[in-house]
Protein backbone atom coordinates (compact mmCIF):
# COMPACT_ATOMS: atom_id res chain seq x y z
CA UNK A 1 0.00 0.00 0.00
CA UNK A 2 1.38 3.38 -0.99
CA UNK A 3 2.01 5.98 1.68
CA UNK A 4 -0.47 8.85 1.90
CA UNK A 5 1.26 12.05 2.90
CA UNK A 6 -0.48 15.27 3.94
CA UNK A 7 1.42 18.31 2.75
CA UNK A 8 0.96 21.38 4.94
CA UNK A 9 2.41 24.62 3.64
CA UNK A 10 2.95 27.05 6.47
CA UNK A 11 3.57 30.79 6.59
CA UNK A 12 3.80 32.66 9.90
CA UNK A 13 1.84 29.93 11.68
CA UNK A 14 -0.98 29.83 9.14
CA UNK A 15 -1.76 26.92 6.88
CA UNK A 16 -1.59 28.33 3.38
CA UNK A 17 -1.96 27.06 -0.15
CA UNK A 18 -1.18 28.54 -3.52
CA UNK A 19 -1.49 27.56 -7.13
CA UNK A 20 1.73 26.62 -8.91
CA UNK A 21 3.59 27.85 -5.79
CA UNK A 22 2.06 31.35 -6.18
CA UNK A 23 -0.89 33.38 -4.87
CA UNK A 24 -0.61 31.89 -1.40
CA UNK A 25 -3.70 32.28 0.76
CA UNK A 26 -4.41 31.52 4.40
CA UNK A 27 -6.75 28.62 4.97
CA UNK A 28 -6.40 27.56 8.61
CA UNK A 29 -4.32 26.42 11.57
CA UNK A 30 -1.63 23.88 10.58
CA UNK A 31 -1.52 22.17 13.99
CA UNK A 32 -5.27 21.55 13.92
CA UNK A 33 -5.07 20.31 10.32
CA UNK A 34 -2.18 17.94 11.17
CA UNK A 35 -4.12 16.52 14.12
CA UNK A 36 -7.25 16.08 11.98
CA UNK A 37 -5.46 14.21 9.17
CA UNK A 38 -3.64 12.09 11.75
CA UNK A 39 -6.90 11.02 13.39
CA UNK A 40 -8.39 10.29 9.96
CA UNK A 41 -5.49 7.91 9.24
CA UNK A 42 -2.86 9.79 7.23
CA UNK A 43 0.46 7.90 7.00
CA UNK A 44 2.88 10.81 7.20
CA UNK A 45 2.89 14.58 7.60
CA UNK A 46 5.00 16.94 5.51
CA UNK A 47 5.43 20.47 6.90
CA UNK A 48 6.79 23.11 4.56
CA UNK A 49 7.92 26.51 5.77
CA UNK A 50 6.92 28.33 2.62
CA UNK A 51 8.85 31.54 2.79
CA UNK A 52 11.84 30.19 4.69
CA UNK A 53 14.07 29.48 1.75
CA UNK A 54 13.60 33.05 0.49
CA UNK A 55 14.82 34.54 3.73
CA UNK A 56 17.16 31.78 4.86
CA UNK A 57 15.38 30.95 8.09
CA UNK A 58 12.94 28.43 9.44
CA UNK A 59 10.03 29.44 11.65
CA UNK A 60 8.50 26.05 12.18
CA UNK A 61 10.00 25.42 15.65
CA UNK A 62 7.03 25.94 17.94
CA UNK A 63 4.58 24.39 15.50
CA UNK A 64 6.82 21.37 14.98
CA UNK A 65 7.14 20.76 18.73
CA UNK A 66 3.37 21.01 19.11
CA UNK A 67 2.63 18.63 16.25
CA UNK A 68 5.31 16.11 17.30
CA UNK A 69 3.79 15.81 20.77
CA UNK A 70 0.51 14.25 19.64
CA UNK A 71 0.95 13.17 16.04
CA UNK A 72 2.56 9.72 16.09
CA UNK A 73 3.39 9.32 12.41
CA UNK A 74 6.60 10.38 10.62
CA UNK A 75 7.06 14.14 10.26
CA UNK A 76 9.08 15.58 7.41
CA UNK A 77 10.08 19.24 7.48
CA UNK A 78 11.19 21.42 4.57
CA UNK A 79 12.06 25.03 3.95
CA UNK A 80 15.10 27.10 4.75
CA UNK A 81 17.38 24.25 5.81
CA UNK A 82 20.86 25.52 4.88
CA UNK A 83 23.34 24.07 7.36
CA UNK A 84 23.89 20.98 9.46
CA UNK A 85 23.06 23.21 12.48
CA UNK A 86 19.58 23.93 11.04
CA UNK A 87 19.18 20.18 10.60
CA UNK A 88 20.24 19.40 14.18
CA UNK A 89 17.76 21.98 15.52
CA UNK A 90 14.84 20.58 13.55
CA UNK A 91 15.60 16.95 14.51
CA UNK A 92 15.83 18.12 18.13
CA UNK A 93 12.36 19.68 17.89
CA UNK A 94 10.78 16.46 16.61
CA UNK A 95 11.38 16.16 12.86
CA UNK A 96 11.95 12.60 11.62
CA UNK A 97 13.12 13.61 8.17
CA UNK A 98 14.17 16.80 6.43
CA UNK A 99 13.53 17.60 2.79
CA UNK A 100 16.09 19.76 1.04
CA UNK A 101 16.01 21.40 -2.37
CA UNK A 102 17.36 24.96 -2.80
CA UNK A 103 20.26 24.78 -0.34
CA UNK A 104 21.65 21.60 -1.87
CA UNK A 105 22.31 23.45 -5.13
CA UNK A 106 24.51 26.08 -3.46
CA UNK A 107 25.92 23.58 -0.94
CA UNK A 108 26.09 20.14 -2.58
CA UNK A 109 27.58 18.65 0.61
CA UNK A 110 24.54 19.44 2.74
CA UNK A 111 22.67 16.22 1.92
CA UNK A 112 25.67 13.98 2.48
CA UNK A 113 26.50 15.77 5.75
CA UNK A 114 22.96 15.18 7.04
CA UNK A 115 22.98 11.58 5.75
CA UNK A 116 26.32 10.84 7.41
CA UNK A 117 25.19 12.16 10.76
CA UNK A 118 21.50 11.16 10.84
CA UNK A 119 21.31 8.42 8.23
CA UNK A 120 19.93 8.37 4.69
CA UNK A 121 16.43 7.60 5.96
CA UNK A 122 16.38 11.08 7.55
CA UNK A 123 17.01 13.03 4.37
CA UNK A 124 14.56 13.50 1.52
CA UNK A 125 15.77 14.96 -1.75
CA UNK A 126 13.12 17.40 -2.87
CA UNK A 127 12.62 18.17 -6.55
CA UNK A 128 10.35 20.88 -7.99
CA UNK A 129 9.89 19.82 -11.58
CA UNK A 130 8.62 21.99 -14.40
CA UNK A 131 7.63 20.48 -17.69
CA UNK A 132 9.61 21.48 -20.77
CA UNK A 133 9.56 20.12 -24.29
CA UNK A 134 10.87 16.58 -23.97
CA UNK A 135 11.22 16.43 -20.20
CA UNK A 136 11.33 18.37 -16.94
CA UNK A 137 13.67 20.96 -15.46
CA UNK A 138 14.36 21.30 -11.73
CA UNK A 139 13.45 24.60 -10.07
CA UNK A 140 14.51 26.13 -6.74
CA UNK A 141 13.20 28.80 -4.32
CA UNK A 142 9.67 27.32 -4.28
CA UNK A 143 9.43 27.14 -8.05
CA UNK A 144 10.73 30.66 -8.64
CA UNK A 145 14.17 30.08 -10.14
CA UNK A 146 15.39 27.80 -12.88
CA UNK A 147 18.52 25.67 -12.56
CA UNK A 148 18.91 24.21 -16.05
CA UNK A 149 19.28 20.77 -14.45
CA UNK A 150 17.12 18.04 -16.06
CA UNK A 151 14.96 15.83 -13.84
CA UNK A 152 16.71 12.50 -14.34
CA UNK A 153 20.20 13.99 -13.80
CA UNK A 154 19.00 15.53 -10.56
CA UNK A 155 17.47 12.22 -9.38
CA UNK A 156 20.79 10.44 -9.85
CA UNK A 157 22.65 13.28 -8.16
CA UNK A 158 20.39 13.29 -5.08
CA UNK A 159 20.66 9.52 -4.68
CA UNK A 160 24.43 9.76 -4.97
CA UNK A 161 24.51 12.50 -2.28
CA UNK A 162 22.77 10.04 0.04
CA UNK A 163 19.07 10.97 -0.03
CA UNK A 164 17.05 8.01 1.29
CA UNK A 165 13.93 8.99 -0.64
CA UNK A 166 12.78 11.59 -3.13
CA UNK A 167 9.80 13.92 -3.19
CA UNK A 168 9.03 15.02 -6.74
CA UNK A 169 6.52 17.87 -7.01
CA UNK A 170 5.07 19.09 -10.28
CA UNK A 171 5.26 22.89 -10.32
CA UNK A 172 2.81 22.99 -13.26
CA UNK A 173 0.14 20.97 -11.48
CA UNK A 174 0.63 22.24 -7.91
CA UNK A 175 -2.59 23.58 -6.39
CA UNK A 176 -4.52 23.17 -9.65
CA UNK A 177 -6.34 20.04 -8.43
CA UNK A 178 -6.54 18.65 -11.96
CA UNK A 179 -4.62 15.45 -11.23
CA UNK A 180 -0.97 14.43 -10.79
CA UNK A 181 1.54 14.66 -13.63
CA UNK A 182 1.37 10.91 -14.24
CA UNK A 183 4.23 10.90 -16.70
CA UNK A 184 6.43 12.71 -14.19
CA UNK A 185 5.54 10.16 -11.52
CA UNK A 186 6.27 7.30 -13.91
CA UNK A 187 9.61 8.66 -15.12
CA UNK A 188 10.79 9.67 -11.64
CA UNK A 189 9.90 6.32 -10.06
CA UNK A 190 11.54 4.40 -12.91
CA UNK A 191 14.74 6.50 -12.73
CA UNK A 192 15.31 6.27 -8.99
CA UNK A 193 16.93 3.53 -6.93
CA UNK A 194 15.34 4.95 -3.75
CA UNK A 195 11.61 5.33 -2.98
CA UNK A 196 9.81 8.19 -4.78
CA UNK A 197 6.85 10.22 -3.53
CA UNK A 198 4.90 12.26 -6.10
CA UNK A 199 3.25 15.58 -5.29
CA UNK A 200 1.36 18.37 -7.03
CA UNK A 201 -2.11 18.27 -8.54
CA UNK A 202 -4.24 15.89 -6.54
CA UNK A 203 -7.85 17.07 -6.64
CA UNK A 204 -9.72 14.06 -5.34
CA UNK A 205 -9.89 10.30 -4.82
CA UNK A 206 -9.83 9.45 -8.53
CA UNK A 207 -6.56 11.37 -9.05
CA UNK A 208 -5.01 9.52 -6.12
CA UNK A 209 -6.18 6.11 -7.35
CA UNK A 210 -4.88 6.84 -10.85
CA UNK A 211 -1.32 7.64 -9.72
CA UNK A 212 -1.32 4.66 -7.34
CA UNK A 213 -1.37 2.33 -10.35
CA UNK A 214 2.30 3.20 -10.92
CA UNK A 215 3.81 0.17 -9.29
CA UNK A 216 7.23 1.56 -8.38
CA UNK A 217 5.82 4.69 -6.75
CA UNK A 218 6.20 4.68 -2.95
CA UNK A 219 3.81 7.43 -1.89
CA UNK A 220 1.71 10.42 -2.78
CA UNK A 221 1.58 13.88 -1.25
CA UNK A 222 -1.71 15.72 -1.05
CA UNK A 223 -2.37 19.34 -0.09
CA UNK A 224 -5.37 21.19 -1.49
CA UNK A 225 -7.45 18.02 -1.94
CA UNK A 226 -7.29 17.46 1.83
CA UNK A 227 -7.51 21.09 2.94
CA UNK A 228 -10.60 21.74 0.83
CA UNK A 229 -12.27 18.51 1.90
CA UNK A 230 -12.17 16.67 -1.45
CA UNK A 231 -10.65 13.54 0.02
CA UNK A 232 -11.81 11.35 2.88
CA UNK A 233 -8.68 9.49 3.96
CA UNK A 234 -10.37 6.29 5.15
CA UNK A 235 -12.46 6.10 1.96
CA UNK A 236 -9.29 6.52 -0.12
CA UNK A 237 -7.58 3.77 1.87
CA UNK A 238 -10.47 1.35 1.34
CA UNK A 239 -10.62 2.09 -2.39
CA UNK A 240 -6.88 1.84 -2.87
CA UNK A 241 -6.85 -1.55 -1.16
CA UNK A 242 -9.65 -2.74 -3.47
CA UNK A 243 -7.74 -1.45 -6.49
CA UNK A 244 -4.53 -3.13 -5.32
CA UNK A 245 -6.33 -6.46 -4.90
CA UNK A 246 -7.88 -6.16 -8.36
CA UNK A 247 -4.50 -5.35 -9.94
CA UNK A 248 -2.91 -8.32 -8.16
CA UNK A 249 -5.65 -10.64 -9.39
CA UNK A 250 -5.17 -9.27 -12.90
CA UNK A 251 -1.45 -9.98 -12.71
CA UNK A 252 -2.07 -13.53 -11.56
CA UNK A 253 -4.77 -14.19 -14.18
Amino acid sequence: MKRLIARLDVKSNFLIKGVRFEGLRKIGDPAIAAQKYYIEGIDEIFLVDNVASLFGRNHLGTLLERVARDVLVPLTVAGGIRTIRDAENLFGLGADKLAVNTASFSNPNLISEIANKFGSQAIVGSIQAQRLAGGWECLVEQGRDRTGVPLVDRIHQLVEFGAGELLVTSVDNDGVMGGYDLQLAEVAAASSSVPVVIGGGCGGIDDALRVMKIEKLSGLAMGSALHFGHIDISELKTKSLEQENLLNEGNRG
Partner: protein, 206 residues
Protein backbone atom coordinates in the same frame (compact mmCIF):
# COMPACT_ATOMS: atom_id res chain seq x y z
CA UNK B 1 0.81 2.44 34.25
CA UNK B 2 0.90 6.12 35.05
CA UNK B 3 4.00 7.97 36.17
CA UNK B 4 6.40 5.12 35.94
CA UNK B 5 9.90 6.20 34.97
CA UNK B 6 11.33 4.90 31.72
CA UNK B 7 14.87 5.78 30.67
CA UNK B 8 15.69 6.41 27.04
CA UNK B 9 19.35 6.32 25.99
CA UNK B 10 20.34 9.71 24.62
CA UNK B 11 23.20 9.03 22.23
CA UNK B 12 22.39 12.14 20.20
CA UNK B 13 21.53 10.44 16.90
CA UNK B 14 18.17 11.22 15.34
CA UNK B 15 14.75 12.02 16.67
CA UNK B 16 14.97 10.63 20.18
CA UNK B 17 12.24 13.01 21.31
CA UNK B 18 9.63 11.02 19.37
CA UNK B 19 10.14 8.08 21.74
CA UNK B 20 9.63 10.20 24.86
CA UNK B 21 6.57 11.83 23.24
CA UNK B 22 4.97 8.44 22.59
CA UNK B 23 5.74 7.24 26.14
CA UNK B 24 4.37 10.46 27.65
CA UNK B 25 1.05 9.85 25.86
CA UNK B 26 0.77 6.55 27.79
CA UNK B 27 1.42 8.34 31.07
CA UNK B 28 5.09 7.45 31.53
CA UNK B 29 7.71 9.73 32.97
CA UNK B 30 10.14 9.31 30.07
CA UNK B 31 13.63 10.61 30.75
CA UNK B 32 16.56 10.93 28.40
CA UNK B 33 19.83 9.79 29.92
CA UNK B 34 23.50 9.65 29.04
CA UNK B 35 24.58 8.90 32.59
CA UNK B 36 26.00 5.34 32.91
CA UNK B 37 24.89 5.01 36.55
CA UNK B 38 21.36 6.17 35.91
CA UNK B 39 21.22 3.78 32.97
CA UNK B 40 22.46 0.80 35.00
CA UNK B 41 19.83 1.45 37.68
CA UNK B 42 16.95 1.84 35.22
CA UNK B 43 14.01 -0.51 35.75
CA UNK B 44 13.31 -0.27 32.04
CA UNK B 45 15.61 1.00 29.33
CA UNK B 46 14.88 1.97 25.73
CA UNK B 47 17.56 2.33 23.08
CA UNK B 48 16.31 4.25 20.04
CA UNK B 49 18.42 4.48 16.96
CA UNK B 50 18.31 5.61 13.39
CA UNK B 51 20.98 6.02 10.80
CA UNK B 52 23.67 3.44 10.51
CA UNK B 53 24.93 0.59 12.63
CA UNK B 54 28.48 1.89 12.89
CA UNK B 55 27.26 5.42 13.72
CA UNK B 56 25.05 4.28 16.58
CA UNK B 57 27.73 1.93 18.02
CA UNK B 58 30.37 4.66 17.96
CA UNK B 59 27.96 7.21 19.48
CA UNK B 60 27.36 4.71 22.31
CA UNK B 61 31.14 4.27 22.74
CA UNK B 62 31.81 8.01 22.64
CA UNK B 63 29.12 8.69 25.24
CA UNK B 64 30.88 6.14 27.48
CA UNK B 65 27.79 3.94 27.62
CA UNK B 66 29.04 0.74 25.98
CA UNK B 67 29.83 -1.23 29.17
CA UNK B 68 26.66 -0.16 31.00
CA UNK B 69 24.40 -1.17 28.10
CA UNK B 70 26.26 -4.46 27.56
CA UNK B 71 26.00 -5.38 31.27
CA UNK B 72 22.36 -4.28 31.38
CA UNK B 73 21.25 -6.54 28.54
CA UNK B 74 23.44 -9.52 29.56
CA UNK B 75 21.82 -9.33 33.02
CA UNK B 76 18.48 -9.84 31.25
CA UNK B 77 16.99 -6.58 32.49
CA UNK B 78 13.92 -5.13 30.72
CA UNK B 79 15.11 -3.53 27.51
CA UNK B 80 13.63 -2.41 24.19
CA UNK B 81 15.85 -1.55 21.23
CA UNK B 82 14.22 0.32 18.35
CA UNK B 83 15.42 0.13 14.70
CA UNK B 84 19.22 0.38 14.82
CA UNK B 85 18.78 0.06 18.62
CA UNK B 86 17.48 -3.44 17.80
CA UNK B 87 20.21 -4.18 15.26
CA UNK B 88 23.05 -3.59 17.74
CA UNK B 89 21.73 -6.45 19.92
CA UNK B 90 23.05 -8.79 17.21
CA UNK B 91 26.58 -9.86 16.35
CA UNK B 92 27.03 -7.39 13.55
CA UNK B 93 25.90 -5.84 10.31
CA UNK B 94 27.37 -5.75 6.83
CA UNK B 95 26.62 -2.02 6.98
CA UNK B 96 29.66 -1.70 9.27
CA UNK B 97 31.57 -4.97 9.01
CA UNK B 98 34.41 -3.90 11.30
CA UNK B 99 32.08 -2.81 14.13
CA UNK B 100 30.78 -5.65 16.31
CA UNK B 101 27.35 -5.34 17.97
CA UNK B 102 26.54 -6.43 21.53
CA UNK B 103 26.17 -10.03 20.31
CA UNK B 104 23.32 -11.00 22.64
CA UNK B 105 21.21 -12.37 19.79
CA UNK B 106 22.67 -14.60 17.08
CA UNK B 107 22.53 -13.36 13.52
CA UNK B 108 23.86 -10.75 11.20
CA UNK B 109 22.28 -7.87 9.30
CA UNK B 110 22.41 -7.95 5.50
CA UNK B 111 21.22 -5.46 2.91
CA UNK B 112 17.66 -6.01 1.67
CA UNK B 113 18.93 -5.88 -1.92
CA UNK B 114 20.82 -9.15 -1.27
CA UNK B 115 17.39 -10.84 -1.40
CA UNK B 116 17.33 -10.09 -5.13
CA UNK B 117 13.83 -8.60 -5.34
CA UNK B 118 12.74 -5.77 -7.65
CA UNK B 119 11.88 -3.52 -4.69
CA UNK B 120 13.75 -0.28 -4.08
CA UNK B 121 15.45 0.29 -0.74
CA UNK B 122 15.18 1.53 1.97
CA UNK B 123 11.97 -0.31 2.77
CA UNK B 124 9.78 2.60 3.87
CA UNK B 125 6.17 2.48 4.93
CA UNK B 126 3.45 0.66 6.83
CA UNK B 127 3.71 -3.13 6.93
CA UNK B 128 1.37 -5.72 8.32
CA UNK B 129 2.92 -7.76 11.14
CA UNK B 130 2.66 -11.55 11.32
CA UNK B 131 3.17 -13.08 14.73
CA UNK B 132 5.28 -16.22 14.87
CA UNK B 133 5.41 -16.55 18.59
CA UNK B 134 2.88 -16.30 21.40
CA UNK B 135 5.48 -15.07 23.83
CA UNK B 136 3.97 -11.60 23.65
CA UNK B 137 0.49 -12.27 24.93
CA UNK B 138 -0.64 -8.79 25.74
CA UNK B 139 -0.83 -6.82 22.55
CA UNK B 140 -0.36 -7.76 18.92
CA UNK B 141 0.30 -4.72 16.77
CA UNK B 142 -1.45 -5.06 13.39
CA UNK B 143 0.68 -2.73 11.27
CA UNK B 144 3.79 -0.68 11.95
CA UNK B 145 5.94 1.95 10.30
CA UNK B 146 9.28 0.71 8.98
CA UNK B 147 12.25 2.45 7.45
CA UNK B 148 15.33 0.31 7.03
CA UNK B 149 17.76 -1.12 4.48
CA UNK B 150 19.29 -3.97 6.50
CA UNK B 151 17.49 -7.00 7.90
CA UNK B 152 18.32 -9.71 10.45
CA UNK B 153 19.47 -12.83 8.62
CA UNK B 154 20.28 -16.28 10.01
CA UNK B 155 18.07 -15.57 12.99
CA UNK B 156 17.19 -18.36 15.39
CA UNK B 157 13.42 -19.11 15.20
CA UNK B 158 13.25 -19.03 18.98
CA UNK B 159 14.24 -15.37 19.01
CA UNK B 160 11.58 -14.31 16.49
CA UNK B 161 8.27 -12.84 17.65
CA UNK B 162 6.91 -11.17 14.52
CA UNK B 163 7.87 -10.45 10.94
CA UNK B 164 6.55 -8.80 7.77
CA UNK B 165 6.53 -9.88 4.16
CA UNK B 166 8.69 -8.04 1.64
CA UNK B 167 8.26 -9.40 -1.87
CA UNK B 168 7.63 -12.82 -0.39
CA UNK B 169 10.54 -12.71 2.05
CA UNK B 170 10.00 -12.91 5.78
CA UNK B 171 11.69 -9.90 7.39
CA UNK B 172 12.10 -9.99 11.19
CA UNK B 173 10.11 -7.19 12.84
CA UNK B 174 10.28 -8.06 16.55
CA UNK B 175 12.89 -10.24 18.25
CA UNK B 176 13.55 -11.10 21.87
CA UNK B 177 15.94 -12.98 24.09
CA UNK B 178 14.57 -13.16 27.62
CA UNK B 179 13.45 -9.71 28.67
CA UNK B 180 15.59 -8.00 26.06
CA UNK B 181 13.45 -7.01 23.07
CA UNK B 182 14.22 -5.41 19.74
CA UNK B 183 11.85 -4.03 17.12
CA UNK B 184 12.89 -3.13 13.58
CA UNK B 185 9.87 -0.85 13.19
CA UNK B 186 9.13 2.45 14.90
CA UNK B 187 6.37 1.94 17.50
CA UNK B 188 6.76 5.63 18.42
CA UNK B 189 5.72 6.51 14.84
CA UNK B 190 3.02 3.86 14.45
CA UNK B 191 0.02 5.89 15.62
CA UNK B 192 -1.72 5.37 18.97
CA UNK B 193 -1.55 1.62 18.42
CA UNK B 194 2.25 1.85 18.39
CA UNK B 195 2.23 3.75 21.69
CA UNK B 196 -0.15 1.12 23.10
CA UNK B 197 2.20 -1.62 21.93
CA UNK B 198 5.14 0.02 23.74
CA UNK B 199 3.05 0.44 26.88
CA UNK B 200 1.93 -3.20 26.83
CA UNK B 201 5.45 -4.47 26.19
CA UNK B 202 6.88 -2.38 29.04
CA UNK B 203 4.24 -3.73 31.40
CA UNK B 204 4.88 -7.29 30.27
CA UNK B 205 8.66 -7.31 30.67
CA UNK B 206 9.08 -4.62 33.34
Amino acid sequence: MANRTVYVVDHGIGNIRSVTNALALSGYDARLTRDPNELSDASILILPGVGNFGGVMSAIQEAGLYESIRDYIYQDKPFIGICVGMQVLFQGSLEAPSTPGFGLIDGQFKHLSSLGTAEVTPSIGWRELHYQSDRIGTYHLREAYFVHSYFASSLDDEDLISSYLWSGNQIPAHVARGRVHGVQFHPEKSRRDGARFLDALIQEIG
